[in-house]
């Protein structure tokens, strides 16, 4: 089997994650989907580092993880505070951006 399949898998997961971001309303699930996308990217990175035979890809993936962790922490904190203030975790309820 050609390792490129990992990339296809990554692409697939990424697409699924993106679709989830678009269709789910629960902010938490939405975040999970984002995590899914990030992981898909990580998989791609790792595969690339295998492709190129150096570890930079893995480093990038590593950084991605770190950033993802930070993002999750802050994001979840935001969700919690939003939930506190308006007792809802639905992203549609926060639709104040319309003119």
């Amino acid at each position: 089997m050609n390792p490129v399949n990992y990339l296809y898998l990554a692409a697939l997961l990424f697409t699924i994650g993106a679709a989830g971001v678009v269709i789910r309303r629960n902010a938490i699930v939405l975040f999970m989907c984002v995590e899914l996308m990030l992981n898909a990217c990580n998989l791609a990175f790792v595969t690339f580092s295998r492709l190129h035979g150096n570890l930079d890809g893995q480093i990038i993936a590593f950084f991605t993880m770190v950033v993802a962790a930070a993002e999750v922490v802050v994001g979840l904190a935001i969700i919690v505070s939003v939930f506190r203030s308006r007792h809802s975790a639905s992203v549609d309820d926060a639709s104040l951006m319309k003119l």
Partner: protein, 631 residues
């Protein structure tokens, strides 16, 4: 000597500046300043005249270049004066009559609180008129040309509180402007033809130019002359111009300004000589106008309007003469001068009469004034005899010559023109007699004015009568003096040139004819107005009469043909500008606004919608990159 020429213009100009900027502190003595400066100008003119007579008749022309005015590329306009016999004639006429009328106005305008301003305007007019006749190039002449137009505008509208006066002033200026277009186009044509528009080089090099060009120039000059000299078809303003104070009518609209057209044509004689078609046009205009004015003069009951009609007609004579070419130039100018005397006299007389009849102008409400104001009667009467061409008086000499010259044109054209001139003479006799009879003879037909006070006519103060006497003297003897062994002819010939046409009739025959028609005219008038009493209100009269009362429908024609369409055009354009030109812009703006209003709906505020658009956008980007790679 040359420097004196500048002074000629400077003196009245200074007066105008002083009086108009001087403010109220000059109210007391303003009129004296004005009169003195006008007189000074006349004195200078006289001195120059004497000096000119001292020189041989072919080097009499003086030229003085004051400074270079507009030098741009090949376009050279100088402020330079040229004083030859022709200009000198005008200078003397203008300053002389002008001074007299200044004196007259001192009395006439005594009760007007804006007298200072009036004299300022008069001085301004003198300056402009002198500039007109002294200019050595057409552009400077143009300055004077419009300057007199401005002065006439200011003076016609002097009593601005009267809407009629303001309108008449505006009308005069606008109609003159139409003529000025002709003058300016003529100047442009000269510039493109000769590269200059200075009299000497242009007029001496006429033969280089093609006849077509010259005809065009001639016609344009004729248009200008029509505007300024109230010739058909631009004559409509003169009648209304009588709204101005009577001295103004006498000076500007009888003696001097309106004759500027004759000066222009005579001055440009060389061009017209080389352009026969233009000359034909000139004589046609002249002939038509002399009849037109005469007919109008017959119908008017307003004494000043009647005189205005006669002015029109007399200037028609001059234009006719000028159009005849070398045969007529001299006589045109000669008639111009004599006319200046007697017509100014007549107007001053009319003014004196109005002064006495507390500003009543309707002749039907005069009558039997001869014993109340003898001086006016005598002077007016002399002027009357002069204008109808009573043998021996000024008018006789000059008009008779013109009629002769008209016949001398030769051929059918000569007969037609001569006939017209003769007929004009007859009508002149008729309407002037009518004026005379209505005003001074018959029984009283006086009516109280609006204030309700009966008019009790009295002789005018001496400041008014003296000028009238002087002018009367002039109108009696000037013609004879000029004709005394053709002195005037000899005087002007070096400038205008002269040639005797071959007249089909002998001079005696013409004179006889003139006498006959003259008698007929007087007799007709006497039968109509002398024998039976004159009704206070004008009878309805024949169709022609009614038309003539309305200036032969000239104004109506203008109104229908020009004014109305113009108003509609402007209104339409205002609408178009607002709706169409502006509407396009505002429409675009509105369209953009609406579109953005619709696009705004996409901003529904749901994060997920934005996410979808981002998602799709990414897809599109990838597609684009792939396509780029593929291509």
């Amino acid at each position: 000597m040359e420097n004196l020429i500048g002074l000629l213009v400077a003196a009245p100009l200074l007066g105008a500046a002083l009086l108009l900027c001087g403010g109220r502190r000059l109210d007391g003595k303003g009129h004296y300043i004005g009169t003195v400066l006008a007189a000074a100008s006349f004195v200078i003119g006289a001195v120059l005249f004497a000096e000119m007579l001292g020189r041989g008749e072919h080097d009499r022309a003086l030229h003085s270049k004051v400074f270079s005015w507009i030098p741009v590329g090949g376009f050279r306009a100088d402020v330079a004066f040229q004083l030859d016999q022709l200009s000198m004639t005008f200078v003397l006429l203008i300053t002389g009559v002008g001074t007299l009328i200044h004196i007259y106005s001192i009395g006439y305008m005594e009760h007007d609180e804006r007298r200072r301003r009036f004299f300022g305007y008069l001085n301004l007019f003198l300056a402009a008129m002198l500039l007109l006749v002294l200019a050595d190039n057409y552009l400077l002449l143009y300055v004077g040309w419009e300057g007199v137009g401005l002065a006439s505008y200011l003076l016609i509208g002097f009593w601005q509180h009267k809407p009629s006066a303001a309108t008449a002033a505006k009308k005069a200026f606008i109609v003159n402007r139409v003529g000025d277009v002709g003058l300016s186009i003529a100047i442009m044509l000269m510039f493109t033809t000769f590269g200059t528009f200075t009299f000497a080089p242009v007029l001496t090099n006429v033969d280089h130019a093609s006849e077509g060009k010259l005809t065009a120039i001639g016609l344009m000059l004729l248009l200008a002359a029509c505007g300024k000299s109230a010739q058909v078809p631009l004559q409509s303003w003169l009648g209304d111009a009588m709204e101005g104070p009577t001295p103004v009518s006498a000076l500007i609209h009888a003696a001097t300004m309106v004759t500027a057209g004759v000066y222009l044509i005579t001055r440009s004689g060389a061009i017209f000589n080389a352009a026969p078609d233009a000359q034909t046009a000139v004589v046609t205009v002249g002939a038509v106008t002399l009849l037109f004015g005469a007919i109008v003069g017959c119908a008017k009951d307003d004494i000043k309007k009647a005189l205005a009609g006669s002015t029109m007609s007399q200037i028609g004579y001059m234009i006719l003469a000028a159009g005849l070419g070398p045969i007529g130039y001299v006589f045109a100018i000669m008639h111009l001068v004599t006319h200046g005397f007697f017509k100014a006299g007549l107007f001053l007389g009319a003014g004196s009469v109005m002064h006495a009849m507390n500003d009543e102008v309707d002749m039907r409400k005069y009558g039997a004034l001869r014993k109340y104001m003898p001086v006016t009667f005598v002077t007016f009467g002399l002027g009357y005899l002069a204008i109808i061409g009573f043998p021996g008086l000024s008018g006789f000499w000059s008009k008779d010559k013109i009629i002769e010259a008209a016949f001398a044109k030769g051929g059918t054209e000569g007969w037609i023109l001569g006939g017209a001139a003769l007929l004009g003479a007859a009508i002149t006799a008729y309407y002037m007699t009518r004026v005379m009879l209505l005003t001074f003879f018959g029984e009283k037909r006086w009516v109280p004015d609006e204030a309700g006070q009966e008019p009790h006519p009295h002789e005018s103060p001496s400041s008014m009568t003296i000028p009238m006497m002087v002018l009367a003297v002039g109108s009696v003897f000037a013609g004879g003096l000029f004709s005394l062994n053709d002195s005037f002819l000899k005087w002007l010939e070096p400038v205008t040139g002269h040639s005797h046409g071959d007249s089909p009739l002998s001079a005696a025959a013409v004179t006889g004819g003139t006498m006959v028609v003259l008698l007929i005219g007087v007799a007709l008038a006497w039968m109509q107005y002398g024998r039976r009493p004159v009704p206070r209100t004008a009878p309805r009269g024949s169709l022609l009469t009614r038309a003539a009362r309305r200036d032969l429908l000239q104004d109506d024609f203008n109104h229908v043909a020009l004014v109305k369409p113009g108003q509609y055009l402007t209104r339409g354009l205002v609408y178009v500008d607002h709706k169409l030109v502006d509407g396009v812009v505002n429409g675009t703006a509105a369209g953009v606004g609406g579109l953005s209003g619709r696009l705004r709906k996409l901003q529904n505020g749901y994060a997920r919608t934005y996410a979808v658009s981002m998602f799709g956008g990414t897809a599109v980007l990838i597609a684009a990159t792939l396509l780029m790679r593929a291509v």
